[in-house]
């Protein structure tokens, strides 16, 4: 898989690149700001762009805006946005109306290479990736849905959280030590309890759950 890395700190560009290479990915270029990133994507057409949110010139949310542009203009390139802090608002904005090929992770999570690889695979295959910390906050703050969520069994809650993180049924099954079939059954049950229409595509699921949790 071919990836590009965009971060204004050289140290982090280096570090991320080394991790990615170690994990078996090919780093085809790095960029230090939004404009350089877009030029790089235009030229190299990677499978995924790993992008830091906070970049020059304004050091606010250049990364988010670049991500939106990349998704709009280069539909075959997925974007994995990295942030120093847990920002529920940014995650919700990023996923907006279309969670396809988009991911949001907190930076130190990528130190775990397995997590990094899983997220990249999810995003490059048209699915989504959402940091577990963000999901945890969303679930905790479910407010009006607290009652319904409390009605889920422990196993169902775990499946819901992993699903919101964008993982595939097989990945969920691997993590929980159950068969893929069982996972599918759980998911059907969850959607039924939440009263949300079921969907087979991973990214749509994420969207549905996000929409449900953030309402």
């Amino acid at each position: 898989m071919r990836v590009v890395v965009a971060d204004d700190a050289a140290l982090l560009r280096e570090g991320l690149s080394r991790l990615l290479v170690e994990a078996g990915f090919t780093v085809v270029g790095t960029a230090g700001d939004g404009d350089a990133l877009l030029a790089l994507v235009e030229e190299a057409r990677p499978d995924v762009a790993v992008v830091d949110i906070r970049m020059p010139p304004s050091y606010t949310d250049e990364g988010l805006r670049a991500a939106r542009r990349i998704r709009a203009e280069y539909p075959d390139t997925g974007v994995l946005v990295l942030s120093q802090h847990v920002r529920v608002t940014y995650a919700l904005e990023l996923f907006g109306g279309d969670a396809r090929g988009v991911g949001y992770l907190v930076k130190d999570r990528v130190a775990d290479m397995a997590e990094l690889a899983a997220a990249l695979r999810q995003v490059s295959s048209g699915g989504s990736a959402l940091d577990p910390d963000v999901v945890a906050l969303l679930v905790r703050r479910a407010g009006p849905h607290a009652g319904t969520l409390a009605a889920l069994t422990d196993r169902e809650s775990n499946v819901l959280a992993l699903m919101a993180q964008g993982r595939s049924n097989r990945a969920i099954g691997d993590r929980l030590g159950i068969a893929e079939r069982t996972v599918e059954k759980h998911i059907a049950g969850i959607f039924a309890k939440l009263g949300v229409p079921a969907s087979t595509e991973d990214h749509r699921r994420v969207l549905a759950v996000l929409a449900y949790l953030s309402s």
Partner: protein
């Protein structure tokens, strides 16, 4: 009342003059004169409404004195009626001295003295007279061994003692600020007392002088009532001083000079000025310092000063001024404008003092904050990083021989780093929240709501971005309020409301916890108050016990 006195007095005088009484001519002429003198002064005083009480006392002294004359009528019935009342005049005179110029006895001490005096002259006399039978008033001359002699001695001794106590009381009053009672009265009382004492002593030791000293006493005593009248008139004349006050006020420089001018006009050197500050709901002195009101019922009293229906302040003065309300009103009216100006100055000084204190607090808060950060860095992140270095060293040493152990050490190092990062994150949020710079207060509050330990609902009715200073202070206020709601208030839900109306932004955080929070307690909220006031805004804390807490900040934006 006056006519009763006149009739009684006239009748007695006529009888006495006719009979002669068996005493010297001077004696016969002067004795009734004293009574008349008091009576006339009393009648004159009664003409004026406010001096009525004093007038009654003067009349009473005159009456009591004339009762003396009953002795000289040599009519047995009258003599025996008058016998026990012989010395009542002394007790009534003491009453008058202690009650001047108001006519009322202020303290329990003066009342006790007067009651003791009456008991002494009437009670003891009754006992003695019953034992003795009607006789001349001079039964206390030595050598007379009648059984009642002892009682007369007792009466006199007690009388002298009480007279001494009255003098001491008057001396102490004179020393107190107002120099009351007035000098004329003072002198008269001293003269009378000294003469009476001299009379008693010379009667005991040298009867020859007795008559001389008695005449002296009579003369002095007859002048006393006019001294009283003069001082009452003097009180009236004081009001003319108000005109002088108005002239003086035009030259007054500061609050101290104003106080002096007013004190002189009111003849009360102990006068104090206090100014009303509506914001504080309390009184301050000329320098802006808080002032406590004097206790009621003591030697000091207060008079409210108002102008155009607004309360400006109060005068604290000797309680005797209560009886001259017209004088006080005239002085206050004349000085109204000057007092108002002085009040504004005092208010300003109070505000300046508060401002200075607030700035000091802000500077100290900044220094404390830096120390806190340094401590957090040292005890938190730095320590963790050091321990991670240790663990990495461990991993390195295990690497060649035991890669699995090395692997677990590395995992441990990663976890330590994650914690260090977490702490640094929280620290940098505390220094300056990144999201505020990136997206503004609205998103920042949304993030605080997501991360809050208690379910929080946000209602935003304002422009997306406010001024930087307002956003920063607002962020800290909301963060502090949320922390309090979780930590102290034991709340189960929080509402944050941000609204913007007529150029004023309002940020309010309400929880449904136990209430009882107070802006002064807990440096967190106090520091917030300083920051908000530094922006020209206001921080209010509404926290009735058991009914939740609302912390609200109002500031003008733009």
């Amino acid at each position: 009342m006056g006519s009763v006195f006149a009739a009684f007095g006239a009748a007695l005088t006529a009888v006495v003059l006719a009979r002669g009484g068996g005493l010297g001519v001077l004696h016969v002429l002067l004795t009734p004169l004293v009574g008349w003198s008091f009576g006339v002064a009393g009648m004159l005083a009664c003409l004026h409404r406010r001096w009525r009480r004093v007038g009654v006392l003067l009349l009473a002294v005159g009456f009591a004195w004339l009762v003396h004359l009953l002795d000289w009528t040599h009519v047995p019935v009258l003599v025996s009626v008058g016998a026990p009342l012989r010395n009542v005049y002394a007790a009534v005179f003491a009453h008058l001295l202690l009650a001047f110029p108001t006519g009322r006895l202020g303290s329990w001490w003066s009342r006790a003295l007067v009651v003791a005096g009456y008991l002494d002259v009437v009670g003891v006399q009754v006992v003695a007279t019953v034992l003795d039978g009607p006789g001349p008033a001079t039964s206390w001359v030595r050598g007379d061994r009648s059984p009642a002699a002892v009682w007369y001695d007792v009466e006199n001794a007690v009388g002298v003692l009480l007279a001494g106590l009255v003098m001491v009381t008057l001396v102490r009053r004179a020393r107190s600020a107002r120099g009351h009672p007035p000098a004329a009265v003072w002198t008269a009382a001293v003269v009378a007392f000294v003469a009476l004492l001299a009379n008693l002593l010379s009667a005991w030791f040298s009867p020859g002088l007795a008559l001389v000293s008695w005449v002296a006493f009579l003369t002095g005593f007859a002048a006393v009532p006019f001294a009283f009248l003069a001082s009452l008139l003097g009180l009236r004349l004081r009001r003319a001083g108000v005109a002088a006050l108005i002239v003086r006020l035009s030259r007054v420089g500061d609050t101290a000079e104003l106080r002096d001018a007013l004190a002189d006009a009111l003849r009360d050197p102990s006068l104090e000025l206090a100014f009303w500050v509506p914001d504080r709901g309390g009184y301050v002195d000329g320098q802006g310092r808080e002032v406590t009101l004097p206790a009621t019922g003591g030697e000091r009293a207060g008079t409210l000063v108002e102008r155009d229906g607004r309360r400006i302040g109060a005068l604290f003065h000797d309680v005797a001024l209560r009886d001259e309300p017209e004088l006080v009103d005239a002085v206050v009216a004349a000085a109204g404008l000057a007092l108002d100006n002085a009040r504004l100055q005092a208010e300003l000084r109070a505000q300046l003092a508060e401002l200075r204190a607030s700035r000091v607090r802000l500077v100290e808060a900044a220094a404390t904050e830096r120390r806190r950060i340094e401590r957090n860095l040292h005890d938190g992140a730095q320590q963790r990083l050091v321990s991670v270095a240790f663990v990495l060293g461990l991993a390195r040493s295990r690497l060649p021989g035991d890669p699995i152990a090395a692997g677990s050490a590395l995992t441990e190092a990663q976890s330590g780093l994650a914690q260090a990062l977490d702490e640094l994150r929280r620290l940098s949020q505390g220094i300056h929240p990144g999201v505020l710079v990136e997206r503004g207060l609205r998103v920042a509050i949304a993030e605080l709501a997501w991360a809050a330990p208690v379910p929080t609902h946000v209602a935003w009715h304002a422009p997306d971005r406010l001024s930087e200073a307002v956003e920063l202070t607002g962020y800290y206020m909301v963060a502090e309020a949320l922390a309090n709601a979780a930590k102290h208030a034991r709340a189960t839900s929080v509402r944050i409301r941000v609204s913007d109306q007529d150029g004023r932004a309002t940020i309010a955080v309400s929880d449904d916890g136990v209430g009882g929070a107070h802006a002064e307690r807990g440096t967190g909220l106090h520091g917030l108050t300083d920051r908000v006031e530094a922006l020209g805004g206001r921080l209010t804390v509404l926290s009735p016990v058991g009914a939740g807490t609302t912390i609200q900040m109002e500031v003008s934006c733009g």
